[in-house]
Symmetry: C2
Amino acid sequence: MSEYIAPCDCRRAFISGFDGSAGTAIITEQKAAMWTDGRYFLQAAQQIDSNWTLMKMGLKDTPTQEDWLVSVLPEGSKVGVDPFIIPADQWKRISKALKSAGHVLVPVKENLIDAIWMDRPQRPCKPLMTLDLSYTGIGWKEKIAALRAKMVERKVLWLVVTALDEVSWLFNLRGSDVEYNPVFFAYAVIGTDTIRLFISGDRMADPSTREHLLLDSSLEAEFKIQVVPYESVLTELQAICVGLSPKEKVWLSDKASYALTEAIPKAHRYLTPCTPICIAKAVKNAAETEGMRRAHIKDAVALCELFNWLEKEVPKGSVTEISAADKAEEFRSQQTDFVDLSFATISSTGPNGAIIHYKPVPETNRALSGNEIYLLDSGAQYKDGTTDVTRTMHFGTPSAYEKECFTYVLKGHIAVSAAIFPNGTKGHLLDSFARSALWDCGLDYLHGTGHGVGCFLNVHEGPCGISYKTFADEPLEAGMIVSDEPGYYEDESFGIRIENVVLVIPAKTKYNFSNRGSLTFEPLTLVPIQTKMISVPLLTQKECDWVNDYHRKCREVIGAELKSQGRHEALQWLIRETEPITKMH
Amino acid sequence: MSEYIAPCDCRRAFISGFDGSAGTAIITEQKAAMWTDGRYFLQAAQQIDSNWTLMKMGLKDTPTQEDWLVSVLPEGSKVGVDPFIIPADQWKRISKALKSAGHVLVPVKENLIDAIWMDRPQRPCKPLMTLDLSYTGIGWKEKIAALRAKMVERKVLWLVVTALDEVSWLFNLRGSDVEYNPVFFAYAVIGTDTIRLFISGDRMADPSTREHLLLDSSLEAEFKIQVVPYESVLTELQAICVGLSPKEKVWLSDKASYALTEAIPKAHRYLTPCTPICIAKAVKNAAETEGMRRAHIKDAVALCELFNWLEKEVPKGSVTEISAADKAEEFRSQQTDFVDLSFATISSTGPNGAIIHYKPVPETNRALSGNEIYLLDSGAQYKDGTTDVTRTMHFGTPSAYEKECFTYVLKGHIAVSAAIFPNGTKGHLLDSFARSALWDCGLDYLHGTGHGVGCFLNVHEGPCGISYKTFADEPLEAGMIVSDEPGYYEDESFGIRIENVVLVIPAKTKYNFSNRGSLTFEPLTLVPIQTKMISVPLLTQKECDWVNDYHRKCREVIGAELKSQGRHEALQWLIRETEPITKMH
């Protein structure tokens, strides 16, 4: 149920051939159907064969999974699903619909795909990385203690940690079991005086991990970590629940799997949309914030090098989307504490830019040129932080229309970045600020404006964000980190997106909301925004000032770093690209 | 369960003395407690005696009703509630909480307050008013036919109409059973070929009503209205449900009472947050829109007269909040087709203006003067439309701070009124536009920005609105009518609010959202905004232009009407108040 999964979990791709990041396959004795969303209609149609029916989600006439099941199943059917890979609320919804039509949803404990998947890869079990206080700011014992205080507050005896990034954050450990997210397969169950860590293999044999977790030290009983095999989480949880007195509660995310949710008898369940770890992880402490700053400085150095290189190489005609992405990775990997990319680089030129989640492959790979807009959305994992940045540029002369669209997107980016709002405001209330300039001209983009960003953790994390979709987002707080990434996409022509990662900080206002206090954003990303793409007359004086202030900061902070790294040519590029713009009167 | 209720339904006021518009009384054998919100903490504390515990909702330590019940009840208690005055979802929530603590929630069919309320007033049964096509645009037969088409679409056999304004709208009838809302006590149950209208007394004896509803005409069987006593709705609905085949559904709002919801067996219930009548009623047709325009022109005439009168009388020191409100009613009542006010006039000066739902009473009544801001939020019911307008003014010289705050509120008002947004946008996405200028300076207001407005119906209606609270609002559509009313309130000092009723209209944009189309607002309210209160340098040129365009339209449209009504002094006032403002460069 994670955003990025290991090869052993790519069961839908195995059975259907469709390997997009989102999709659900349902197979009956007679039929097979595949649900996916608008990003993947084309790809799925190409990858699945005629045995499959493609169900295009979001289209009016597409049935829901439960409606389709009811329409095709013979009376009194059983529908099976692996209870470990379906969230409890989705189970409940489908189960209810099936039941009211006379069918029944049953958990199938042995996954049926695994039963026929002969060469299924092993579940990864890569070595762990320990993070010391200079990166995490807070030791894992202190985190556990704070967590237990929250448990006491909510009157729960146990907390089950299921999200991989929450386990990683809690123990100050990182892994590489899946791509891009530096996490490892594990669960944790925290009691008032016990800690159980469910993890496979001999990962606890590594001396530095043992030392980090104090496995061989004599310490207070309540901080003694019991290491338990990964697979035994269900039986252990069941055993815990057997011992519960009435009114004793077990805390679990409402996004946890049906298997784990069901293991806790209803009367003992304490479900919330957001675990206390999720919120603690989202509000970065001083060490994490400083780490994120360092990571973004290094990342900006790499991108200055890249853009300088592109400016020289693109005119020669030899740079493609793939080679540009590779070059970006090469420059990033030269930076201290570089670990991995934080997601698959979106390197797209011309019409490919209009495909929001484009990833270049040899069949679509396009050469960069002086005639098309180039969009690069990329990021990396450094040991001190995670980055995610999008820049859109032109290596020739952009058309007036391209500049106009770019400028509206920039106005939206600035409107969010410079917004001041009272403490307690939820991110979704800021989404329209990013669209207002586009809306005025009849343009829009069909994605949210921002997502939470982890600190050397998942590049997409909850519980906050900036989106017109009003999911249960938590109010923004100082220390939270989100992306600000409005865009505009002209089908079959070009894509524009301007993305910074921004830190929520206290704002100074004239009247300070009757001491309620206020917030604003500070960009962590410090990479020039191509001024050639800006139609300056469309900016207000305030927006001009924002651009110039931002570029001055890029020049100061990144310039100093480029200098100290001896990257003189990239420094010259940075200085050129951060020349102030002027609004004529 | 309506916003405005009849004296016979003021049971909480009878038992406790507290007569605010929102509150819930719970009485056990030993205790009595009263829940109410921040608007009424003071009033409730004054009105209830020491037998009662005041439960201040919204404060951190205030228990919910169910938590309190669980904490005070002896084991295995029964909690009774009149099932006709509690929504089904609230019943479900309380019932669940009680059950898990070993208690039970039971419906008490004979209301226990009524049993001891000796001089309880009769349920009102006022004469009905029929509306012809020139007001409604669509006859009731046509409305029923359209409704049945929606029922076929959703595969339901029956629709139960419970909201009073929905019954009124459906049959093109109006009443005066409660204050301010021109509705009457009734239910309707629409079948595929039957119409049942549940209504009390001999109201169907009136010849014009009989003719309007074609009660004595020979007409198609499916449009024959069966008139049934109001009290028999429950037994009739139960009888209908007994006759249902499996899979046959009855459509009901999920806001309906527990009594009616429970009358429909679960398998036959089709609950939605919004009935098809609710949406049809919200999207005004051409006749309704024209009626609303006429009503707002007449209303503006009355307010021009009032403000002209106030300007002359206030300096004499003889005008109070109450006499100003009375004078407003007097001027309104001079207009054609005036029926009633649409809500209790909020007439407040100085510190009273900071009380958002203030209604002047003799104990608080304050004289208007040249030293304080005056806020008037008022509206009327005309046979052709409903109005709701707020203006804030100063009869002397406003302070720089007062002007500053007023100007931020005005900027917010304009930002919403002039907003352009794609088809399908929900109102809550526009709320932050109204706050942005205030937020920049650390100011905010703690209410939503707008509500739906009925056409000669409830001044507050669903299913659309503009609020940071993301209730289940329906997307805005051309023809919907909402209010735009940001404000700012300085406790114990002053209140500012600028409110227009605005019509959702198609917008013209340069690129038209790839033919998705776009919307904006057109003000129906045409009453000058006091330019004396504006700090012009704080406005952008665009905002200045908006104010001048708006005032030009006020002068043209209302000026013509004042002239034709021979109200020359008010016309001179209007011309003075609509002088263009100029931004110095």
